[in-house]
């Protein structure tokens, strides 16, 4: 008999906990995630390691400033060949400034979404930070004691990944793992937050790995060296003048 009661108890316990957890909707979870992830305004310095299938590894170091998904500016510090190259994003326009040639190039349309330096992060990815809640419908697919799996489905096909699956850590409300899928819900990339840090009441991933699910052994690692949130930028920060300074 005892043998019967123990699983029952466990089941009851589990049921109770699930009821408590269901107290939060998918939207609420997403809101929490966005609260951590969306950068209303921030200034950071980071390194990006692009690992290509044949074992080629490229390291880039840069610093950036970002205001939501409207404004962004970043500047390469390394490698020496790229040093001083700057990207400016304003709404849907992107300019790249090449100091060696003292030349500015405007990137438009579909070119905005090309991967930077052969990696998995596009210009858009690097220069903007928008709320997922604005762009996706969220549903909870599965929950455990420690995690919640949220499915995101885009309202339209303008986003790079119309389908996403977020594995959110209940305690921190931060995604541990994101699977990004294409227009036909076929997985393309997996993003893993390998290390997070607390900044006041915000928890932010400082080491992220973006791994291709199509190309074997291809990944990009993004490590934040230093980040400050809620920075007030002077009005001229995101201008062509500052880009070409």
């Amino acid at each position: 008999m005892v043998t019967i009661h123990i699983p029952l108890l466990l089941s009851l316990l589990l049921l109770c906990s699930m009821v408590t957890l269901h107290a939060q909707t998918a939207e609420e979870w997403l809101q929490r995630v966005d609260r951590h992830m969306v950068l209303a305004s921030a200034e950071y310095r980071a390194t990006m390691t692009v690992h290509l299938p044949r074992g080629v590894e490229r390291l880039f170091r840069f610093e950036g400033k970002v205001v939501g998904d409207r404004l962004g500016m970043m500047e390469f510090l390394e490698p020496p060949r790229q040093k001083g190259t700057r990207y400016l994003k304003r709404e849907n326009n992107l300019w790249i400034y090449f100091p060696r040639q003292d030349r500015t190039m405007q990137i438009q349309g579909h070119m905005l979404r090309q991967g930077v330096q052969g990696g998995d992060l596009s210009f858009e990815d690097l220069t903007e930070s928008g709320a997922m809640l604005d762009r996706y419908r969220a549903t909870i697919s599965r929950e455990t004691d420690t995690t919640v799996i949220i499915l995101l489905e885009s309202n339209d096909m303008t986003v790079s990944y119309p389908y996403r699956e977020l594995l959110v850590d209940r305690r921190s409300s931060l995604p541990i793992r994101i699977v990004n899928s294409d227009a036909g819900n076929r997985p393309i990339k997996e993003v893993a937050m390998l290390k997070t840090e607390r900044f006041g009441d915000r928890i932010y991933p400082v080491l992220t790995e973006i791994r291709s699910l199509l190309v074997e052994n291809k990944w990009t690692r993004f490590e934040i060296e230093d980040i400050r949130f809620g920075v007030e930028f002077p009005p001229e920060t995101f201008t062509r003048k500052m880009l070409e300074r």
Partner: protein, 408 residues
């Protein structure tokens, strides 16, 4: 006649010099003929490849499409089916087909390559382009079944073979990424690097699905009765079907035409230098001849040879050098070009490098009568000009001095 006869005899007087001078010019002219053969061959091969695999005779695009640095899906043609049926009933249009082309990644195992994904109409494409017939291994695209054709260079770059499964990743028109995993059913080898090295061909319907653009195309390609009519047909179509941006082949092949023109200019400079060297040789030979034969010139003048006749003798000597050199150059040049025309000049050394021309593997020079004749005439004119100075000198000399001192 006496001028020619004397000129001819005089050339035999110092055979070594005549041979050397003629050889210099002959080498120059041979190089010219071979170079022109090479350029003509390159042009012909390039135009054939461009028309058969790339620019067709006439194309229609959505306005703005051609203004992009790297054309994408921001500007596409819609209502393609009705556009095609309209074209089918149009005079001067022999065949028309739609293509949807976009940038994408071709992924196979650990390999990933930037590529152009081209959706082709399995039924219509072959009437306009040679692409679907350029399959050298496996089979072509026969229907809308999702399969891929890959160029042989692209295939060898990432170790692809018929039967392998590949993934294509594209950015759809609205922006979402889209992938398809499909088998490679055929390997293409067209001779056009753009086809063989950078493109993956899939059925048009699949390309439309991937681009999230039903019944759309990035271009409508047309074959006309004759290539040289394409400009006219393009203008006619622009009038009767306004809206799309109509372009004739030479407009689309602008880069190639500019390059070809540039190469001809560069060649012109080389020729000018060669010509100058040959001309200096001829001029030198002729001036030496005048110097050596001063007394003879005086004698002929004493006999009543007019100064212009004396001048003509030397002009003819130069001309004969040109004639000998030209004839030799034509024989050697045509032989070399013919040989190379059969065996080709290998481009292996360039590997996958872009040589700027829509050709690969080998260049096959061709003999163009116009080029050969103009090289020959060029040689004659050059030798005529080069002997002009000597001829004037011979004609103007003082008879008495020539006879007495042996100098003019």
């Amino acid at each position: 006649m006496i001028a020619i006869r004397l000129a001819w005899r005089n050339l035999q007087r110092n055979r070594r010099r005549t041979v050397l001078t003629s050889s210099a010019l002959a080498i120059g002219l041979t190089v010219l003929i071979v170079q022109l053969g090479l350029l003509d061959g390159t042009d012909q091969q390039s135009i054939n490849n461009l028309v058969a695999y790339d620019v067709a005779h006439v194309k229609a695009f959505a306005p703005g499409y051609m203004d992009q640095d790297l054309p994408g899906l921001d500007h596409t043609l819609s209502g393609v089916d009705s556009l095609l049926s309209l074209l089918d009933g149009t005079r001067d249009v022999v065949a028309a087909t739609a293509r949807l082309e976009m940038s994408g990644m071709l992924i196979h195992g650990g390999e990933e390559l930037f590529t152009r994904v081209v959706g082709v109409d399995p039924v219509r494409d072959g009437d306009v382009f040679g692409t679907l017939r350029a399959v050298v291994e496996g089979r072509s695209i026969q229907d809308e079944t999702p399969v891929a054709l890959v160029g042989d260079r692209l295939a060898s770059d990432i170790g692809l073979g018929v039967g392998d499964i590949v993934t294509l990743l594209v950015r759809s028109a609205p922006g979402a990424l889209n992938t398809r995993t499909l088998p490679v059913v055929g390997i293409l080898s067209s001779g056009h690097p753009k086809v063989d090295q950078f493109a993956v061909y899939v059925p048009l319907s699949l390309a439309c699905d991937m681009a999230l653009l039903p019944d759309a195309a990035t271009e409508i390609a047309i074959r006309t009765e004759r290539l040289k009519d394409s400009e006219l047909v393009s203008r006619t179509l622009a009038r009767i079907i306004p809206g799309p941006d109509w372009r004739a082949w030479d407009d689309l092949a602008g880069d190639f035409i500019r390059l070809a023109r540039m190469k001809r200019t560069a060649q012109g400079i080389i020729i000018a230098v060669l010509a100058l060297l040959a001309a200096v040789g001829i001029a030198n030979t002729m001036i030496m001849a005048v110097h050596e034969r001063t007394r003879e010139i005086g004698t002929l003048r004493a006999f009543g040879f007019s100064s212009s006749l004396i001048g003509r003798i030397f002009l003819w000597e130069g001309m004969l050098i040109g004639l000998i050199a030209g004839s030799a150059a034509v024989i050697i040049g045509v032989a070399v070009v013919s040989y190379l025309g059969v065996h080709g000049i290998s481009l292996e050394a360039y590997g996958d490098m872009d040589i700027g021309y829509p050709i690969r593997d080998a260049i096959y020079p061709v003999i163009n009568a116009g080029s050969v004749i103009s090289s020959f005439i060029f040689g004659l004119v050059l030798s005529l000009l080069a002997s002009w100075g000597a001829s004037r000198r011979a004609a103007r000399g003082q008879v008495v001095r020539a006879l007495r001192e042996g100098s003019l």
